[in-house]
Every structure is written in C-alpha cells, then in structure tokens.
Amino acid sequence: MSRRLIVSTIAVASLAFAACQQQARQQTLNGSGATFQKPYQEAAIERFTALHRNITINYSGGGSGKGRQDLADMVVDFAGSDSPFKEADLAGNKGGEVLYFPILLGPVAVCFNLEGVASLQLSAGTIARIFQRDVTLWNDPAIAADNPDLTLPAAGIVVVHRSDGSGTTDNFTKFLVSAAPEVWRLQSGSTVEWPAETQAGAGNSGIAQIVRATAGAVGYVDLSDAKASGLPYARVKNQAGNYVEPTVSSASAAGDGIEVNDDLTFSAVNAGGPGSYPITGQSWVIVYANQADQAKAAAIQAYVRFLVGDGQELLPELDFAPLPPGLQAKALAQVDRIRTS
C-alpha cells in the first residue's frame, strides 16, 4: 500500500518536473494595442505558432494609446500602434530606446448609404466640408462638382464618426489636414471636436451599422469592415488628381509614394503617385531595442521577422496592403537591432 503511494508520488513528481522543464523552454510574448492591425496579428499568430510550437503569443486590442502605454510601463513585450510615440512621451518609456517596425498599410473607406447612388467620387475638400457640416445636403454643388455625371438627391447628410478614440480617426483626420488644409478646421487626432449634430458609433463595425441603418449617412471605416457591411464606398481624389477606389493595390501604390524617416516612422496619408489611394493608414509593431532575457529577445526577433517578412503574404486576404519592398528590406534589416544588453 505505502509502496504504491511512494511509486505514484514519484510518478507525479517527475511528471510535474517534466512540465516545469517544458515551461522553461516555452516562451510567451504578450502584446496589446491597435485594433486596426488585430486581424493581421491574429492570422500571423496562428501561422507563426504553428511553425514555432514553443512560442505562445497573445495580442489584445485596446487601442494604439493603450498599447504604447503598456509598452512604456513594460507590461507587454510589444505594442501595436497606428501612430508613433509622441516626442514628449518617450521619456516615460521604462525600457529605453524603442524600435518601430511597420507591418502593414490599410485603406480607410468612406462608405455611404444613398438611395439610388451606387458609386460616388469625393475630393478631400468635399469630404472635409461634409464631415464638419459645412455641406449638409447630398445635392450640394461641392459634391456635384466631384460627380458631374451623377444626379444627386436633395437628401440630408448624416455624418457618422467614431465614439471611441481611434487610430482610424487619427489617420482619417490626418488625411484631411494634409489634403484639405484650407477647408478642414478640426485638426487631427484619435478623437476630434466633431459637430454635435453628427452620429457616433463604437468601432468600425459600429459606424458601418449606423450608416447601413440610416438613409443619407456617410462614415469612415477600414476596408475590410466596409466590404463586410456591403455598403458602397467612395472613390477619393488623390494628389495626382485621380479618383481612386480603396483596394489592396491602391493602398500598395500609396506605400510606394511615402517618405520614410530613419526610424521607419512615416505617414501614408495623402501619398503621391497616380494610382495611390490617399486615405491609407499604417500600423507598427513597437518593441524595445534592449531586451533583458536572451530567449525572449530571440522569440521577439523571430516573430517580428515573420510579421515584416513571410507573414506579409497573409495581408491581401485581410484587405491590407503589404509593405513596399524598399521599406520591407529596411524593416528586416532592423530586426537585428533587437538584442540583449
């Protein structure tokens, strides 16, 4: 009896020991931040962890601001963010120097719900006038000027924007600041001072839902949500003067026309080039250059290399555009700067 007890105790103990050893080799990476890049993170994690069974990766959303704050406080291993750290906030980063890895480009679509109108062309100035309520009717001369071949109804415009702070709002308003500076007054940010007589929806899907339910509504959502909603979306006039539909390839074209800083930060909105879609946003993964743990540094390197490298082929299916080759090469080269001090 007691012998059996001893044997089974040893068996349990050795199992537990084996589990602990397994645990030691197992690496877990935690990230949080932008919801914009979340579909890519999810697809990439699935593919990556199938290849690297000893690495577990969690990416929780929460918004770019939360991701940057979590990284600053060192509660996550990497942050997802649609915009870089503000210069003033860099001092609060407990882990020192950060590295920016651009991982994708994504178009923001202007979708609408207008009886009898399936396609619409809009210039930056017109979008600015619509969203700050200078233009309140669909048959306004400003909209008609962008659509000479269209008979527009005298319906009222219902503007729908995000109720929550959002990187998508940031990119959308950055586009208006850049492309219609003489018209747009609300400046840019994760949330701006929207006129009171506008509607607000939570998240991309919240906007899409209100636009679909409201006659005469117009809102901005990322391309995959616009497609999922079945709503039509506008072709937007770019710097070269062409009205361009938001697609993976027009967002890629925007990527070719951007100017990238040395730290790989940039803004993809209002990019040059004849075929580029002007409301194109970007998203980064941000990590600390100096890592405390060798094994963790290796795991981060492997995952980031996958995100900017092999994982890029997952993007088009998710309605995101891969990095242009030049930028991708720079990002890959930067992976080696993640190291233990």
Binding site: S64, G65, K86, S190, E193, W194
Partner: protein
Amino acid sequence: MLDLTGKRAPGDTAFRFVAAAAAGLVLLILALIAITMSARAVPVFQSMGLRFFSETRWSAPEGVFGALPFLWGTLFTAAIAIVLAVPVSLGVALFITEVAPRWLRKPLVYVVDLLAVVPSVVFGLWGVVVLSQFFGLGRSFLTAGVILAIMITPIITSLAREVMETTPASEKEAALALGATRWEMIGAAVLPHSAGGLVGSVMLGLGRALGETIAVALVIGSALGRITLDPMAAGYSMPAVIANEWGEAAGLHKSALIALAVTLFLITIVVNLIASAVVQRSMRKSRGL
C-alpha cells in the same frame, strides 16, 4: 463593575487587529484613489484653470478641455432617471408593503432585486436594440435616462420598502381606526413616517445614475458640446466620455479625462454622504431613538 468580556484571549486580539486593519484599508484605498487621481488631474488645471468647469468645447487636438457639457449630460440624464424611477419605485414599494397579498410579496421582492443584478452592459445593449431602434428614441438623453431609470428602480424600491416596513403598526391602525381609507392611511401614517428614508433611497439611486458608464455610453449618442433641455437630443456624460476616449488618450487629454473622473468622484461622494446621513437620521427617528 462587572466585566463580562473577561480576559482577552489571543484570538480576540487577532480578530480586533484584522477587523481594524480591514476597516483602515478601505479608508486608505479611498484616500489613495483621491490623491493619485487628483495629482494626475493637475496638468489640465494648470492649462485650463477653472475654465475647465465652464468651457463648453472639448477638442483634444487643440488642447481645449471643458467639462460643462459632460457635467450637464450627467446631471440631465440622472434627473430624467429620477423623475421616471421615483414614482414607479415608490409605487412598487407601497404595493409590496401595503397592498399585495402576503403570498405575492416574497416573489415580488425577489423579482425586483433580480433587476438590480443584471449587468449594466446588458441594459445598454437592450437600450440600443429596443429603445433606440425599435421604439425609435434614437441615441439621446432620454434613452439614457430611461435605461438609468430601469437600473435604479430596484435600488430605490428595496430601500423604500425597508423604510416603509418600519412604520409602527400602531400608527397605521390608529389611522384606520379613525376611518381612513387605505390610501389615506398611507398618506397619514406611512409616508410621513418614512419621508427621510425615502429621500435617502432616492439619493442612493441618484448616486448610481450619476456614475453609470457602459449602458449610458452605448445609448447617449456621444455628441459633444450639447447643453440643452431637449430630451431627444444626443449628448454626452462624464463617465461615457472617459470610457470612450481613455484608450487612445495621451498627455493633456489623459489628464483632462482624469479630471472628469475626479469631478464625478466628488459629486457621487457628496450625494452618497448626504443620502446615508438622511437615511441614518430617519432610521434613528423611526426606531424612536
């Protein structure tokens, strides 16, 4: 003098210590919340001064932060909720204590208390789907007020019921003996006796209504700068704007949201303190102490 406690056993000492520590911890946590929050709210007051409370604009890109419309939205929706919830709650409480047959009281109490444990996000989603879409109330002060009214009804009802039950049977019987109808008896004995407690219960409901976040954020419409008496207008409240904008806020914007939280904290503390003081006093009075 006779000492019934006897010698202090070590268990007693330990218990005293643990209990006192627990009580002290609660106060400590409250104080720490107040201190750290206030400290982080300082930057926005350095930038805006007391204009923070009077400014009607809220523009994060420009660094202009005014709490007034949010303050208005919070108070207005809470007021709508009180107006709607108080008659219903008092009616339910009176029905349970004075009118309903005895066998119905327990189940009624149970059902009303059940309303109090429904998570607020469920109320919010129900508000979006049923009130604003099906009944066409839209996203507005009124929709938020109705949701809040439903949420605070069980709180007010159960407190009001307990207060009403303290009415001495002798007073009720005296009124009835003088030929009062049941309604007259309620007016002459129950309501005067429990007036203080009823005010307290309403104020506790108000405290809940002021701080409710998710349900309100879902249905209030998130419209900036609205200070209006039109209940059908979309607006904004303090907790809702904090919940919506916190995730992406940075710098001064964050400080402004914390300042909103501090303001809300102070308002709810004051409301709750007044409420508990009123309730305590009426309870003492009703026990004839």
